[in-house]
Symmetry: C2
Subunit: 430 residues, 2 copies
């Protein structure tokens, strides 16, 4: 049963993702119409540089006045692939006010203002979908929001940034240092000229905030996410990881506390065992591991970025929103009923791998072990090696709180026999 | 905004999955109500043996008259976890006729009668959801139907049967033979007393039919799926696979032909490279690899069976169907608009690994190579080894059609110098 009035789509932004969305809307028009139950047409494309030639897009559709486009009143769905906070936020709000639903790929905006945007969407009875905002083409938002809607999620742990995974994979496989691996990533186009958002974990933190909110039916803001980049990971860390049967990944981890009364969200490099499914995620791929009460351990794997993969996610949302519109329904909105508080990083409980440079003399191990014990941090293994009066101690702990570990390290630094703390790395996935 | 009239659920079947669905509906009632927007209550449970004690289920809800239960007229959603064709099919049809939507975990029924059941659901304006029918807890039906609705899927390749993956993984890791590994699977509860449905590939074939239908928006019946079990896989095959840098998995493969005008669906053991993400799927886990035009390569991984994981999938569907009901909408129905024909196995193009027992004398390789050439099958590598007048030839081909390969093997068998064809195994995932 096909209705004949086409659904009208306004595209905001026509860069790598937007041009691919427009291309697929044209080349796959028949398939989209069949799957939606109505034809869907590109009604306008808002761009910053109107003079650039855009293959396959009729010039009369192109405008620089995005606000006028979303205010037209005949737009069914606004697809926002501009990125950044403004003008995207105002345009999305205006779109809802003028009767459109919205599909967005904007992780920064959703992480910062998701709750407010959902509220406007609900006020106007419209949809806000954003599968493409987290892990590109990988279906993740929909499975977590819908497929696992009858389950209780306890942990979401993932590689959600392809640039940093490419760099870490390169360091792991070639023994390269951070700078060398970053240079290669830049040369190959995997890293931007200014890689800060990726390597300092800002990008992953935005995704962690979105995922934690959805997984735990609570509001988790960007400021709630503990963030540590991966610029200080060294070749020596990878060597240590290998000795542990591990590799190192930049992980976004969202966890429900054991008592179920609070959640945490964090981004940092961590050692994970080679036997863990996330350990074999290579290159710029992303993967997210989800643990729930009933389903157990699930993993979702795929390309986390790029024009085509992101466009695939945008178009999947577009089909869903169009179907909802035809059926007079809306999809799931924000679900924050659980309202669990976000605990600080000090409450996070995990294991640690600590490398210490120490004096090579009797009694050092006893001193160090005493400091751990005084802070309630239980030691799993210790490995001591040394020569010429210098030695190193590698301590792997049992599970301990971040606060206890921080206290331990502060006390260790004050010991005369400890020359320095070479590295502290969390150990996850066991 | 919570409505107060509860949605009523009738549960058909209360075995391993059904009892877990009932348990979670009780223990997570508040969460389900918050996520649905209305409380959901168990209105009746149809069982075969009413005398068995069912913890947490009020005895007055239990009935042996499933038909009367689905005919009550006040049931919002019928959850069918009986399995098999009848009485499940009649009960589902009756449920639609009496105003209920349906959530089913029944792969055999969906594979055989999915189109007819979808037609009845559509006739009555009701939902038919069945995420649990394929790969247990792994969100797969929803991502393929909805997340990838704007993309073009070219291949779905997966490990969709946990029993056979457990057996093959055991053979791979221990060098055990098929029977020994099966015995262990049976002892551990991974294989049923009669393992035919699993080891002969019937279970995987039903899932392949369902997946192919959804992925290609076409009808693919059980009879359209080529099926080869894994009972003849030997320790020698695993040794051959290792030499190739491969392992052996029982794969369900649904492919669009290169010209896009037809599809194929098949289940058989195959060698896949150790570097392929499916190669590292261990034990009874399932994983499905999806390749599409825009998204590229995606993989979905998790437990493919078991009471709790299957219940998770059922409850996810239950939440979705309840939401639809409150919103007066229905989810996506059958999508078979593409109506692509299913090509026979002979048209499938892949690579082959063939082990031949041959006479150890000059000219044998030339004879064998000539037979391949005459049938248009190009050889990638040949490895010859032998002693005492007996020799073996291992031939790995380039991509060739199944028909061409079959013709080649028939001709090889007629050669005096070929004593026997020890094994033929497809090579996938390259």
């Amino acid at each position: 049963m096909m209705r004949t009035r086409p659904l009208k789509v306004a595209l905001l932004g026509c860069g790598v993702v937007g041009s691919e969305v427009a291309r697929i809307m044209t080349t796959h028009a028949d398939d989209l119409a069949a799957r939606i139950g109505a034809p869907v047409e590109l009604a306008g494309v808002a761009v910053r540089r109107p003079d650039r030639v855009r293959e396959g897009i009729a010039p009369e559709l192109v405008t620089t006045d995005a606000t006028a486009l979303v205010k037209r009143g005949d737009i069914d769905v606004v697809v926002e692939v501009i990125g950044g906070i403004e003008p995207a936020r105002s345009l999305i709000t205006t779109a809802f006010e003028h009767g459109a639903s919205v599909v967005s790929a904007n992780k920064a905006l959703l992480a910062q203002d998701g709750a407010a945007l959902h509220a406007v969407a609900e006020q106007y009875g419209k949809d806000l979908y954003y599968e493409a905002a987290v892990a590109g083409a990988i279906p993740l938002i929909r499975p977590v929001r819908e497929s696992l809607a009858g389950d209780k999620i306890n942990r979401v742990m993932g590689i959600v940034n392809g640039t940093t995974n490419f760099i870490l994979d390169k360091m792991d496989s070639t023994g390269a240092g951070y700078q060398e691996a970053l240079d290669e990533a830049t040369a190959l186009g995997y890293a931007e000229a200014d890689p800060t958002a990726d390597v300092e974990g800002f990008d992953a933190a935005a995704k962690a905030a979105i995922l934690a909110g959805i997984a735990f039916h609570s509001r988790v803001g960007l400021d709630d996410v503990y963030r540590e980049g991966m610029t200080e990971v060294t070749a020596a860390d990878f060597a240590s990881a290998k000795e542990m049967g591990c590799t190192i990944k930049l992980l976004a981890i969202c966890e429900r506390a054991e008592d179920g009364q609070s959640v945490t969200a964090r981004v940092h490099p961590a050692m994970i065992p080679l036997s863990h499914p996330l350990a074999s995620v290579r290159g710029a791929y992303n993967a997210v591991f989800v643990e729930s009460d009933a389903a157990g351990q699930l993993m979702f794997y795929g390309p986390g970025a790029g024009g085509s993969p992101t466009a695939s996610a945008v178009l999947g949302d577009l089909v869903a929103v169009c179907r909802n519109r035809i059926g007079g329904a809306t999809g799931p909105g924000e679900s924050a009923y659980a309202a669990l508080p976000v605990s600080p990083m000090g409450d996070v409980v995990t294991r640690y791998h600590i490398s210490l440079d120490v004096a090579d003399k009797p009694g050092v191990l006893a001193q160090v072990a005493t400091v751990f014990a005084e802070h309630g941090v239980s030691i799993d293994t210790v490995r001591q090696s040394g020569k010429d009066g210098e030695a190193s101690l590698v301590v792997v702990t049992h599970r301990a709180s971040d606060a206890a570990l921080t206290g331990t390290v502060e006390a260790l630094r004050k010991l005369d026999t400890v020359r320095g703390v070479a590295s502290i790395m969390r150990v996850e996935g066991e």
